[in-house]
Amino acid sequence: MLLAALWIGLALAEKRTERHGISKETLNNIVYYSILGYILGGRVLYALSHFSAFAQSPFSLFSPSPDLFDPLAALMSSALVAFVYGQQQKLSLRPTLDALTPFFATLAIGLALAHLAEGTAFGSPTNSTWGVELWGATRHPSQMYELIASLLIFGLIWFRKTDSPPGVSFLTFAALAAAARLFLEAFRGDSMLIFGGLRLAQVVAWITLVAALALLESTFQRGKS
């Protein structure tokens, strides 16, 4: 599911990349190096954080198992690789992120479909008529909520006007994705809780939303001046 989303997302991003001043080849290179950074970074950082286990069986480092992986470290590593590549190629950050936005929006749809297929990211128990039977209870169909939200966000990004200043497309996506997570996390049954019941994902989404809106505002101001 995710591989299909990667492929479709890249194809869609390619279609419009040149309007952001980024060539198709550069866009492909960013994505491929980032995927490499994601895979290597996720595995190496997982191994470093479980050093004693890997020290006793070093060949496990080359195991094809996707479970020996740190997704957060992989994301950071992937972003770092993309940033270094962009610096080397002297790419401007905002147009590059705009060019990648359809790719990110498609990945979000792929992720929602993967959650739906696996039954992960499941909802909290509910009495509502649209609840679904999953994992021993009638639950909010949180994966469907996520899928609908990601499709709507993709539509808004894909069909929006294109005369805005560089960075607006990506920041709009970031703000919409954060807002959707902030709202929909409340219906999840697997939230990580902090400080007496606050959902960690909502706190992170709110902070992301603040940053995205502040940057959007400053981008509009820069565009005016």
Partner: protein
């Protein structure tokens, strides 16, 4: 849109977001589903009572207080066969700390006469259980062999690994996770 209008809208959105975050806080901790049996991380491991080839019954909940790896396997499944030696090694290393392995053979879709020769050939010392009806496989929503469920000392599934063979480091990190 004017700058002032935009800022008002942004402020309202952020304020609503903050209110929603606090209003939807899960003070009762109902997000954790540790009391509901389901074959999923964070849930209570579904109960089963199965027999060993010698006819002894083993009940999962009797092992509460121990960290348990429930491994679903079959003799015809190459990755299941490939990971057994690693499981045996990790079992020998951690059993004194309260680690137990229940290797549940999918007997209803296996050749029963092939089970004990395989166990003897591999020198496996942990309990082998027989799922003769497929009921346990059904409760654990078996999708692929091997499937491994790492159950902590409270009977909660800490991790699910579908497919194999599991690398030694994977087993070690997951077992150390459920022994904590």
């Amino acid at each position: 849109m004017q700058q002032i209008q935009r800022r008002i809208i942004y402020s309202i959105i952020l304020l609503l977001g903050l209110v929603w975050t606090f209003a939807s806080a899960d003070q009762l901790g109902t997000s954790t589903s540790g009391k509901i049996p389901a074959p999923q991380k964070g849930f209570l491991a579904p109960e089963f009572i199965l027999k060993t080839p010698a006819g002894e019954s083993v009940k999962l909940s009797d092992l509460r207080g121990q960290a348990v790896l429930v491994n679903l396997w079959a003799t015809w499944c190459p990755p299941c066969r490939a990971e057994m030696q690693t499981i045996e090694k990790i079992y020998a290393e951690y059993k004194d700390q309260g680690f137990m392995v229940l290797a549940v053979n999918m007997t209803y879709q296996d050749d029963p006469s092939a089970i004990m020769p395989f166990v003897t050939e591999q020198g496996l010392s942990f309990p082998i259980l027989l799922d003769e009806t497929g009921e346990m496989a059904n409760d654990y929503q078996l999708r692929s062999l091997p499937s491994s469920f790492f159950v902590d000392r409270n009977g909660i599934i800490n991790e699910v690994v579908i497919g194999g063979p599991m690398a030694e480091a994977l087993l070690r990190t997951r077992v150390e996770g459920i022994l904590r």
